[in-house]
């Protein structure tokens, strides 16, 4: 029995060795080398087209298609139809149907307006749904987006099972390997470049190193990105602002251009990476205590911007991750600096993988694993023409103008609400607005009467 095992053992080792070599060669040739030179074989786009075909085939409508369409429509419209009338109009209507009284005295029925508005917001409100992942119209064969769909057919289940096997057995290990390669390359190369004396060579090498590593990371996520209007790419001495959906936004933008990052210093692995990066080119990392001091932050940013040899700053003014269906209030800090602003709109295609990071539900590692086990990350990036603050425009108005442009380009809803509402409470000022409106109706006219 003994001698029988040895040949098998050797054979096994040989096979493992060969497959490992083949694997590494394929990895190098098809992924890493193109990343270094910034070319693409088009494999990812082919993959995306194949996936779309599969989704179409699996989701082909059957007998109950009419019913399904109606249900999908109701998903899009929401549960209720809200009346777009204002406080004044409503009150007039309520009063008119009651007694023929003017709109200047309190009526018991006035409470109906607030009551109905309150119940409407309980059933369906605009803000809460922005902080959870967008609902899909049809299933994309991922378990995590399977909420209202259940077992329809064996074919679908088989496809799903195959999908799980491919994603977790093949794609995930591949992507994790690439991610490790990308990050370690970044650290090693930037540290090496950091030893060079400052000058054109150093800048060139640092840019190449950064771009290369980000491209490897892009392939690690199987991100298929379409860049539009590259002629508007941000230039030195400006600030690039974009809508924020996930930490991956940084990788997506930085793989197409070089930016100076802004952020808080972290400890651990993130901090290690940050320190390495800052050796090669000047990023702006703030200590936790410095973040609160707005003047200090503004000063460092404007100093950086005034030095034309430094890269454009990348900032996400929403301050938190929003689920990519809307753009929330931009914080005015970055718009007060007074330099050219380059807006960028990023829109993800949720069919291939939900990119939104719900930080209250998932931690960072969990989120990255989910990203790497989705089908792909497909997104479009639009570089919008540069904007500057106009005469007589204050920072808030400028911020809103930029926000509107980004929302328009990306097909997102432009909202006035603050992204900080994800965690914080509504400021009392909003309630006071409502009270002011109502009191103007009641008391405003009473005062006029008493004066006359």
């Amino acid at each position: 029995m003994g001698p029988f095992y040895f040949p098998f053992d050797n054979l096994l080792c040989m096979l493992l060795g060969i497959s490992f070599t083949v694997w590494i060669t394929l990895l190098l040739v098809f992924i890493i080398v193109p990343a270094i030179f910034g070319v693409s074989f088009g494999i990812r786009r082919l993959y995306m087209k194949t996936l779309l075909k599969i989704f179409e085939v699996s989701a082909r409508p059957r007998i109950s298609s009419v019913f399904i369409n109606k249900w999908c429509l109701s998903l899009a419209l929401g549960i209720i139809a809200k009346e777009p009338t204002s406080l004044v109009e409503e009150m007039t209507e309520i009063r008119r149907s009651g007694s023929n009284r003017d709109l200047d005295e309190f009526e018991m029925s006035d409470i109906f307006y607030f009551c109905r508005r309150g119940l409407e917001s309980i059933v369906d409100d605009e803000v809460t749904k922005r902080f959870s992942a967008e609902e899909l119209e049809s299933w994309n064969l991922l378990t995590r987006s399977n909420y209202n769909f259940q077992h329809i057919s064996t074919r679908l289940t088989v496809l799903w099972g195959l999908g799980v096997f491919i994603r977790y057995g093949f794609l995930l290990p591949l992507r994790v390997t690439l991610a490790f390669t990308g990050v370690s390359c970044l650290v090693v190369l930037t540290t090496l470049v950091g030893y060079l004396p400052s000058g054109r060579v150093k800048n060139f090498l640092s840019e190449t190193a950064h771009l290369m590593c980000y491209r490897i990371c892009v392939r690690a996520l199987t991100a298929i990105i379409t860049y539009h209007h590259s002629e508007n790419k941000p230039k030195n001495g400006g600030i690039c602002v974009a809508n924020h959906t996930s930490p991956i936004d940084v990788i997506i933008l930085a793989s197409d251009g070089c930016y100076a990052m802004v952020g808080q210093t972290h400890g651990g692995l993130m901090g290690f990476i940050q320190r390495a990066m800052v050796r090669a080119c000047p990023h702006i990392w703030f200590e936790r205590s410095e973040v609160k001091d707005r003047h200090l932050v503004a000063k460092r940013l404007s100093d950086h911007v005034q030095d034309k040899s430094k890269l454009p700053i990348l900032i996400f003014p929403e301050g938190t991750c929003i689920n990519n269906t809307s753009v929330m209030m931009f914080k005015k800090g970055s718009f007060e600096i007074g330099c050219t602003v380059y807006p960028v709109a990023i829109k993800y295609d949720p069919r291939f993988g939900e990119a939104f990071w719900n930080s209250s539900k998932y931690g960072m590692v969990n989120y990255l694993l989910r990203m790497m086990s989705s089908w792909a990350i497909v997104c479009s990036v639009w570089y919008l023409p540069p904007m500057s603050r106009e005469e007589g425009e204050d920072a808030v108005q400028f911020a809103n103008r930029v926000k509107a442009a980004i929302a328009r380009q990306g097909g997102l809803v432009d909202m006035l609400w603050d992204g900080g509402l994800k965690r914080g409470k509504v400021k009392d000022t909003f309630k006071e607005e409502q009270q002011k409106l109502y009191s103007k109706i009641l008391v405003g006219t009473q005062e006029d009467r008493s004066r006359s």
Partner: protein, 196 residues
Amino acid sequence: MGSRGSTLSKIPNVDKLMQETGFSQAHIIRLHDRFRALDNDEKGYLCPQDFEAIKELAMNPIGDRIIGAFFAQGPQQETVDFNSFVKVLAHFRPTDKNRPKESTSPDPINSRTNKLKFAFQLYDQDKDGKISRDELLQVLRAMLEMQVTEEQLESITDRTIQESDTDRDNAISFEEFRKSLDKVNIEHKMSIRFLR
């Protein structure tokens, strides 16, 4: 795509709920989705904090009273399960104009009387069946807060009571409330249009 079997099985007593509230199956499913979205920690019931997390409700001057209406089923009620949630929302279904008048069956939840009762309880916080002068003052204060002076609030309160209080007990009973709103189109104003 679109199979409702799994969601329906999670909701207990769907048929009974449909009968009592008049909501269709589609509505109940959508409301269940909303219930689960509001239920942040997936407890299976809602507590006052879940309602307070709705930003637009926090902005409403009588927001806390509306929240109180959900927890009014019993004394010291602290949780709202899905059935109670739907029953309260059923008050705001548009009235069925074609319903035949049967004196034996109880009023549906969204009848005119029940809508009025719902509005009445927003005023009558101590549930003694009357809106006292103090309670009316509190509501006015909630709706107007710092925009008017105390004297103005008091004078509005006194005038309102004077007009509606027919039996001169310085409080508004439910009947007096109902009478003063006789001509108001409550069916329209206290209804939410639920889409199919």
